[in-house]
Amino acid sequence: MTTYLAEDRYPLRLAPAMTDVWELWQRAKTLDWDPQTDIPWEQLQPECYAEEQILAARLYWSRRTWGEYGAISESPALLLRFCLENRHPDLRFFFTMRTQEEGRHAEASWLMADRLGGYFPQPQNPPTAGAVGTHGVRRMAFDPETSLEGIFASLVCAAEEILIDVFKATVHRATNPAVRRLMELILRDEVRHIAFGWQCLDAWAPSFTPETIRNIEQAVTTMIENVEFRGYRNLWLAIEGGDATPLEIDADRVSCEAGLGGSTPEDEMRVFPQFLAKIRARMAPWGVTLPLFDHPRLGKI
């Protein structure tokens, strides 16, 4: 054990220090659910859909699974950082539940793809794996040059926020009861994850230095340009979408129109600019200025 470096662990404070975050931890414990038993799977009835609709939905839910897996393999690194930096106990407690919930989302998304006819364990063309494989949060969490504030802003207030904005905008179109229930349950968890990020950043904002602000601007910009615009969440948004097959790119739309979850390009055209305007306005009081982003289909947003 001597070759490793010990943390400065004590005093080990456990009393709530951020009331709102503590409340999220308390709420998370009471809102557990189980993908195996809390989804009305018997109402999924894949046999009622056309073959191409089922294929699209399987592709959509498979890609969601890969995305959720990132929250098991990457973002838990943040908890290690909270521990070694002796951050408030509220953060550590809440984040353990977040990891649990993301595991649940991954399992639920896999089950959905599986029960629709089969989960795809990888993208159809291997190079697409680069775009959908990682959002790079683990690397950031272990990098002392990347501030925790920057990671929170990019992961929680950008990547998770747009995911949920699209979910909120499309959940009513999920006419399949099993899909709809699953989307509602994921949404319920994710709302807490996002609240956590904003609450932390709001609380820390008075102590932001110009360097912190630059760090946030850089991290959010990277998340938009190198993750969202590479198609991590939705391949239609990929600026260089050459690696994804037309079937994969169109899967979200076909699945959404069948009522099986997903979003259409029109949804993205509408929701993405609104999302950017929202986080720009939300971060402005901290002194954060996000640049305009150029996207071939969304325009200058």
Partner: protein, 314 residues
């Protein structure tokens, strides 16, 4: 950022670079039914320290002030020993993802739940201490602080250490001892709330221990011969340098460092508030080491006999 924090992060950063993660094909179907079942049980047997422990039946006023003082210290010490589990199990989850890439989903799903279970145990200890007069955030003695603070999360992410060695040392030995002590405290307790809390915690710990043994049994046969000796070495190190130094048992801490805590645990045990007498803990420790040695032998891992000035050959 404090230099010590930056140094620790750079350590993790270097460890992470020692792995090449291959994420696809990302398989989700069960490979190990026992571990998938444990994950399933974790989902079904969830509990909430705030709501599922009958705190209203804890009557601190029924105990003399020195008993309350002793018990709050005992449960504070338990919190210090519980806290590392959050980081260790998270680090193990990350290690699994880095190492096994596309496979091992049963273990990953199980481990995605475990940090929250550790957090609930920690919250329980905190709530118990608080209700008895207040949680103590600092051991108040440098030796106790040092001996209850080991960098196991770094150990989990060390590419030079086989994952099997970490699981054997932390899961099969330390978690097993922790479970056995928890069961002993439960058997010794008379206070209804202490019993309730310990029973809930023991239920989770039981799964953690089964997980470790199942995983070790499944992986060891595939471990390269030249990496195998690291397993026995890690378990022996854990026993000699960590456990016999007082990580789990206060009476094993050096004289002078242990006195206040030891006196507190004796009073806590005597009043049935969630501790065991020293003699009972000694029996549990001996039995656990024997049990772990036997089980490791079944997996062709020989745990050597260790000696301790007070306990003799173990």
């Amino acid at each position: 950022m404090a230099e010590i924090h930056a140094k620790l992060l750079r350590g993790y950063q270097a460890q992470e670079k020692g792995f090449v993660e291959r994420r696809f094909p990302l398989r989700f179907e069960p490979e190990n039914p026992t571990i998938r079942e444990l994950y399933s049980q974790s989902k079904g047997l969830r509990w909430n320290p705030e709501e599922d422990i009958p705190w209203s039946r804890l009557a601190p006023a029924a105990y003399a002030s020195e008993v309350r003082e002793a018990a709050r210290l005992t449960w504070s010490r338990r919190a210090w020993g519980t806290y590392p589990g959050m980081g260790e199990s998270t680090a193990l989850l990350i290690r699994f993802c880095l190492e096994s890439g596309a496979t091992g989903m049963d273990a990953k799903l199980f481990l995605s739940f475990r940090p929250a279970e550790e957090a609930k145990h920690l919250e329980t200890c905190y709530l118990f201490a608080t209700r008895l007069g207040g949680y103590e955030p600092d051991p108040g003695h440098e030796t106790v602080a040092r001996l209850s603070n080991h960098p196991f999360a770094q150990m989990a992410l060390d590419p030079d250490l086989p994952l099997e060695a970490f699981v054997a040392a932390l899961g099969c030995l330390d978690d097993q001892l922790d479970l056995n002590l928890c069961v002993s405290h439960l058997q010794q307790s008379r206070d209804e709330v202490a019993r309730h809390a310990l029973r809930l915690i023991a239920g989770d710990k039981q799964r953690h221990v089964i997980f470790a043994w199942t995983l070790l049994g499944a992986r060891l046969p595939h471990l390269a011969a030249e990496r195998r000796p690291a397993v026995a070495t890690a378990v022996r190190d854990m026993l000699e340098r960590v456990i016999l130094a007082g990580y789990r048992n206060t009476w094993l801490l050096p004289p002078g460092a242990r006195d206040r805590l030891l006196a507190a645990e004796a009073i806590t045990a005597q009043h049935g508030l969630g501790a065991s007498p020293v003699e009972q803990e000694k029996r549990v420790l001996r039995a656990t080491v024997a049990q772990v040695r036997e089980r490791l032998a079944a997996l062709d891992v020989a745990l050597p006999i260790v000696t301790h000035p007070e306990l003799g050959r173990l």
